[in-house]
């Protein structure tokens, strides 16, 4: 019997969406296109057309020592070139953003190489060599994990994930990095990820309808699918909790007491 990864517990639509994102065999649906220049403008790490900055010579030129780990691990393109480390960071609204911070971390770790990822309630960062970051960021922004209204690309001043939405359904951003263009119905970035104004607005497309977001969601909610409706999830919560409790220091002798 071949083991089939379940990734996360549960049978609800929320759990199914979680499994999908975490399964590296599943290819994210592409919902929009962003040019390379637009991506570079939004990230704000380098100017469009500017070379990647490097922190060491290309690996091929470095004359690395014999090392079994080096032989085993294929460097990413960014590592091969000696790129500096840069990041992309997303804020996901509690109001049915397609993905949540922990789902991002778990999905990233199943999909991407050469990354360091950090998870908080209101932001989720992925750090890697610069050209690798650009590759991952492009895939993520163009994919179903991103909604122009409920997902923010924010380097700092990230608050907004738990704040109510504005009249157009956009998540609050104290730096007003993006605006809603009523004429086109699109969300346009007028500042880069770090909050600096950019030369021209960059469209990230139209917000998805609420009903669509509710189908795509990876979060349990009282006004969506309640966690209580997915008993396997609660069962695993208890199993994890008791495993940690009973597996640690204990003054009890009998399980269950």
């Amino acid at each position: 019997m071949v083991y089939k990864a379940q990734f996360v517990p549960g049978e609800s639509i929320v759990s199914k969406n979680r499994k999908k994102y975490m399964d590296p065999e599943y290819k994210f649906k592409k919902l929009r296109s962003l040019s390379d220049e637009d991506l570079v403008l939004v990230l704000g790490h380098r100017a469009p057309g500017e070379d990647f900055k490097s922190v060491h010579p290309p690996l091929d030129e470095m004359g690395e020592p014999d090392c079994i780990i080096r032989e085993l691990v294929e460097p990413t393109e960014g590592a091969k070139a000696g790129d500096r480390i840069r990041y992309v960071q997303f804020t996901d609204s509690v109001y049915f953003a397609p993905i949540t911070p922990y789902q991002r971390a778990w999905a990233y770790l199943h999909r991407y190489r050469g990354i360091d990822t950090g998870t908080l309630s209101g932001r989720q960062i992925i750090e890697a060599r610069e050209r690798d970051v650009e590759k991952y960021a492009k895939e993520l922004i163009e994919s179903e994990t991103f909604d122009p209204a409920r997902t923010g690309i924010r380097g700092r001043t990230v608050h907004g994930h738990a704040v109510r939405l504005d009249e157009n359904g956009l998540m609050f951003d104290a730096m007003q990095r993006y605006i809603f263009d009523a004429d086109s119905g699109e969300v346009k970035y007028v500042k880069n990820m770090g909050g600096e104004p950019i030369d021209r607005p960059v469209s990230v497309g139209k917000p998805l309808p609420d009903e669509e977001l509710e189908k795509m969601t990876t979060m349990f909610r009282a006004d969506g699918v309640s966690i209580t409706k997915d008993p396997e999830v609660l069962e695993v919560v208890n199993a994890v909790h008791w495993g940690r409790t009973f597996g640690g220091y204990k003054s009890v002798n009998r399980e269950g007491q």
Binding site: L165, Q176, I227, N238, Y249
Partner: protein
């Protein structure tokens, strides 16, 4: 007893002037920082200060523009105070400062050892009269008066109006003969059943409660407090009982006054977080719980006592200790305020109380088993999570996931502690709640939640040294507990809750509980959030002012 009553809905209406259920609002049109009275005043003051000294200072126009959304006011829980956010930063709140000052400047020193030395070693008589004489002398020396030395530089009493020494005992016969001006009368201050519990545990022992001047703590540190106290007690003993300064028994008095009979509020901390005694990092949760006095003033309302202990813990542990001793800056106040404002945690706690009554009939009636802990934690946790989801203004009030995680887990932990009568079970439920929360929302708090809140359950049921402790005896110095704001306030609640539910007169120490049953303290430990409110309104008169020595 207060029932679960969703008071937060009223708080939300006052805060936002919008429907608490609405998901949408408007931003960027509130006039930035100018919408805030306090920030506007800060700007005005800063302009004057900058002009006078020639160095620029506070100027919100050079930082991130505050007030892109509504700068929310906060309602202090179970009070009518609605206050500006800036007023709950401890720097702007004299009551919060005094809360900490009053704990730090307190030392309790047992008198039995000194009396034994006098009677058994020196053959002197100790009577209520000699004790009263001693009390009169110590109330002269403690503020900075000389008693056996001549030509001494003494302290201006106007700088030490808050300094005094009181006495208490579990011996009613002795208490009756002590000078009322110095006595904390257990029978008067506590309900009858609590007084009985306390007296049985204190027995015939006698303790003096020392309040060192606030200024001493501010100029020096918590370690100085017990040294100041010890020195004055030693001198006073010699004066009161006419002893020779050089006789060998004096060393015994000194040892008793400085070490053997001393109860500090906080213990000494190890080098990596080095602080002296009586600093916040060394205060066990049970001590914080016993400083708070709601248990004797509102004995039928364990929810209130739990919440008041949490409110005290939030300011001392989160805002002052982690926020300033260990970190610095302004972020911690916003975070910590979640546990004592807007009646949100208030509702969660009273919901838990109703749940316990409904499910088990009474407090402490639930079995302390894995299944029961998980059941209570899940039911309470889901209620809290769904409150945030049903009321977007509540979600926005606690706009940081750490705030929500603290309140939800506090509710699960306190309810479990009250249901089972066990703080250990409550702490175990705290960790269960964290896992549930993370799984439900797909997010939790900041990075720290991935450490202590994911591994903490492994030591919840251990008492052995280096592996655990009874929860009431744990404190900020316990491994992993000093890392994250919003935790230790709630832990104080979890330590408090089972004792409040059982009707215990105290959580960890009857001696500390009695020491703070003292109407002469500047801070009102029976009405914590109310006192904060007075501080916000600039209606609280603190101690430690220097008017007597400044132009």
């Amino acid at each position: 007893m207060v029932d679960s009553r969703k008071l937060y809905i009223d708080s939300m209406k006052k805060k936002f002037q919008e429907k608490p259920e609405d998901k949408k609002t408007q931003f960027y049109n509130y006039g930035t920082w100018k919408q805030s009275k306090s920030k506007s005043k800060f700007v005005e003051s800063s302009k004057k200060i900058s002009a006078e000294r020639g160095i620029p200072g506070y100027n919100p126009d050079v930082g991130l523009a505050q007030g892109q959304r509504l700068l929310m006011p906060y309602q202090l829980s179970h009070t009518d105070y609605i206050v500006d956010m800036d007023d709950i930063h401890f720097m702007n709140n004299a009551a919060m400062q005094q809360l900490w000052d009053d704990i730090r400047r307190t030392v309790i020193v047992g008198m039995d050892m000194a009396h034994n030395i006098l009677e058994k070693r020196l053959g002197k008589e100790v009577t209520p009269e000699t004790i009263n004489h001693y009390m009169e002398l110590i109330n002269h020396t403690m503020p900075g008066g000389a008693v056996i030395q001549e030509h001494m530089c003494e302290v201006n009493p106007e700088l030490a109006t808050d300094c005094y020494v009181k006495i208490f005992t579990g011996d009613d016969e002795l208490a009756d003969q002590l000078d009322n001006r110095f006595l904390i009368d257990i029978n008067k201050e506590f309900p009858e059943d609590q007084a009985q519990q306390i007296k049985e545990n204190i027995g015939k022992s006698t303790y003096q409660v020392v309040r060192v001047p606030t200024l001493v703590g501010r100029v020096c540190d918590g370690g100085t407090i017990s040294r100041w106290s010890g020195m004055q007690i030693g001198m006073t003993m010699m004066g009161a009982y006419n002893m020779a300064a050089g006789e060998a028994a004096t060393a015994d008095f000194s040892y008793a006054a400085k070490h053997a009979s001393v109860i500090n509020m906080g213990s000494f901390m190890p080098a990596r977080r080095a602080r002296a005694n009586n600093e916040p990092g060394g205060i066990p949760f049970g001590v914080m719980a016993d400083c708070v006095q709601s248990s004797r003033l509102y004995p039928d309302d364990p929810g209130r006592h739990t919440l008041e202990a949490i409110a005290a813990g939030a300011v001392v542990y989160d805002q002052i200790y982690l926020g300033s001793y260990m970190s610095g800056g302004v972020g911690f106040t916003q975070y910590a305020s979640a546990t004592y404002t807007d009646n949100i945690l208030e509702d969660f706690i009273y919901y838990g109380i109703d749940y316990i009554k409904d499910k088990y009939g009474d407090f402490c009636a639930a079995p302390t088993t894995k299944d029961e802990i998980e059941k209570i934690s899940t039911d309470i946790g889901v209620y809290c999570l769904e409150t945030y989801e049903k009321y977007p203004t509540v979600m926005e009030s606690h706009f940081g996931g750490s705030q929500r995680a603290a309140c939800i887990s506090a509710a699960s932990g306190c309810a479990t502690a009250m249901a089972t009568g066990s703080a250990q079970a409550g702490s175990n439920a705290w960790y269960h709640s964290m896992i549930l929360h993370k799984e439900e929302m797909g997010r939790l708090g900041f990075y720290g939640y991935d450490l202590q809140d994911m591994c903490g359950s492994s030591n919840t049921f251990s008492f052995r040294s280096d592996e655990g402790l009874p929860f009431e005896m744990r404190g900020p110095n316990y491994p992993n507990y000093a890392m994250n704001v919003g935790h230790m306030s709630a832990y104080t609640g979890i330590a408090t809750a089972p004792h409040a539910a059982r009707g215990d007169a105290w959580t960890l120490s009857p001696i500390i509980k009695v020491a703070f049953a003292d109407k002469h303290l500047n801070f009102d430990f029976g009405h914590v959030t109310d006192c904060y409110g007075k501080g916000c309104m600039k209606e609280f008169m603190p101690a430690g002012e220097r008017d007597a020595i400044i132009p």
